[in-house]
Assembly symmetry: C2
């Protein structure tokens, strides 16, 4: 395992210390070393925004704490949910009396721990509502789309909700726009090679040379199918079809797009892929609003890419345009 690490069991703690030192606007919560928060939070008269999840997806989730973005995140070990206590501490640390919105991705552990933490807050008189991202079209059929996992679509959710909260919106208004991004967002991943969890020390799945896994999950969950590695153009075509068909996007509609690397994919190739994705959308007469290409939600050192689309309207367009400043996204 070729890694920059001291002890694999403390890689998350060491990363968090590094982030706290590198980013003066952030701090590790003194009561819980698995919560990273904006120093400025709680912000008076603003709904608190929290996310959380397993580590290994950097810059998610920590990297989206920032000005007019998230106020805090609960940080789990690599690929595993933070405990309920971490979500609870994150919620309590950012509540200014206006309630807290928890915006996270749909995984069993996160779901369970968020719900426990929400109940714990209720006992303290702090209202927490939540929205669960379910953008990964490969993780469950359309008929059971509420069972789908959340992947890079969270970036749109955090940006939109962060902007709305910064405008003084109520908790219900923040929850409404966050849920709207979930309803309007779809993602699909393609994996070209595996990733290695530091504490395990060997790849947690395998993709043969010359093959690709279409629809792979962010932790290596099996995709829709394994097939021969295609050209970027053909991969782009399949990825666009998967998300556009599922969201039922029609000609003349407008999308915002994220192409996120999964960790080990050269930036050069993300733009090669985006070039073909854009051509494919153009061929369908679909308009493109915002475009993000880079490492937005990763899976350790997995080689692969995710395509995320969000159907736009005037409200979402305006909220994406609002100034924001975080490690993972600046507008």
């Amino acid at each position: 395992m070729q890694r920059f690490v001291n002890h694999a069991d403390f890689i998350v703690e060491d990363m968090m210390k590094g982030i706290e030192k590198a980013r003066p606007e952030l701090e590790i919560l003194s009561e819980n070393d698995h919560v990273m928060k904006l120093k400025a939070a709680p912000i008076a008269s603003k709904v608190g925004l929290v996310s959380g999840g397993g580590s290994g997806h950097e810059p998610a989730f920590l990297g989206y704490v920032g000005h007019q973005m998230l106020d805090a995140v609960a940080v789990g070990e690599v690929f595993s949910s933070p405990p309920a206590q971490a979500f609870y501490d994150a919620f309590m640390s950012v509540d200014s009396g206006n309630g807290v919105a928890c915006l996270f991705g749909n995984y069993a552990g996160d779901n369970m721990n968020v719900k426990m933490a929400v109940d714990m807050c209720l006992d303290e008189g702090v209202e927490v509502k939540y929205v669960v991202a379910t953008d990964d079209v490969s993780s469950s059929p359309k008929e059971t789309k509420e069972k789908r996992h959340g992947i890079a679509g969270g970036v749109f959710m955090w940006k939109v909700a962060g902007a709305k909260a910064s405008q003084g919106a109520t908790l219900d208004e923040v929850i409404r726009v966050a849920q709207k991004t979930v309803n309007q967002t779809r993602s699909i991943c393609v994996g070209l090679s595996s990733c290695t969890i530091p504490a395990v020390g060997k790849p947690n799945f395998h993709i043969d040379e010359g093959k690709m896994e279409f629809g792979i999950g962010h932790h290596g969950e099996p995709g829709m199918h394994v097939e021969d590695l295609k050209s970027a153009k053909d991969i782009a075509k399949d990825m666009v079809k998967a998300v556009v068909d599922d969201l039922e996007v029609k000609a003349d509609e407008t999308l915002s797009v994220i192409v996120s690397g999964l960790g080990a994919t050269p930036i050069m190739e993300l733009y090669v892929l985006y070039n073909d994705i854009e051509s494919e959308l153009q061929a369908r007469n679909i308009n493109i609003d915002k475009v993000l290409v880079g490492n937005y939600v990763t899976s350790l050192d997995m080689n692969g890419a995710a395509l995320t689309i969000m159907r736009m309207d005037d409200e979402l367009h305006e909220l994406l345009e609002v100034e924001a400043d975080s490690m993972g996204l600046r507008v």
Copy 2:
């Protein structure tokens, strides 16, 4: 070779098309498809700023074209210099009558082609001066430091010169601050695994499992030595020593720092490494001003990291604080 690519021989063109589509402020020069420029350039009354070099280092060099950053770049094939004609076309496309500064990294091909292009411009009455980055301490001994290669230190040079040019400085003033960043900047790389040039299809060097190459170059040039893979803390100690000793940084001086991944290194590990680098600098009573951690100058899919330090003074501090907006860096 597990890659998102159509034809390896056209990967650079495809990437450039993708970037042009994703970034509305940029355009491929109509006369030369290996030049990317800011649409707004040439900017009246401003010195034009150009860089260039081989591809495969994304977001360098293209990603530093932007508002108050570079005005254009000449784009070479993977790991090879752009031809003189590309530098010439880049220079001519951004000159507003105030001259052009070419700020590039020290490699034989780039040196030769920049100098030819400078002469070609002179024939047209356009003045171009240049500064050559030589930050890689491993590539030549201190006695012959003018022979050293340029690596991630270019980011500081482009940022500082971009800010200075945006303030209406003359060509000589821009050249002065760019040269100052070179004089004050040192870098060192550590490689944990090789990279693969798409048109070649197999790794262009090899690092054994359990080993690391200290001082590796950005194209896999042999480093100072191969040794057993150390802990992040020990690697950080060696990296800090290499650059701090070479620059003769003393206690109570102030540095700005870049920790750049080389392409395939998880972001998590870059922060683990930064945590130890910061501790090492603290132990030497060295102050830290700006910190950048991420993929700033890469080498395709190489697993490794570079540490860059720049000795700060009031002028450099003020120029690093000036607003800037590019794919690779936003302030």
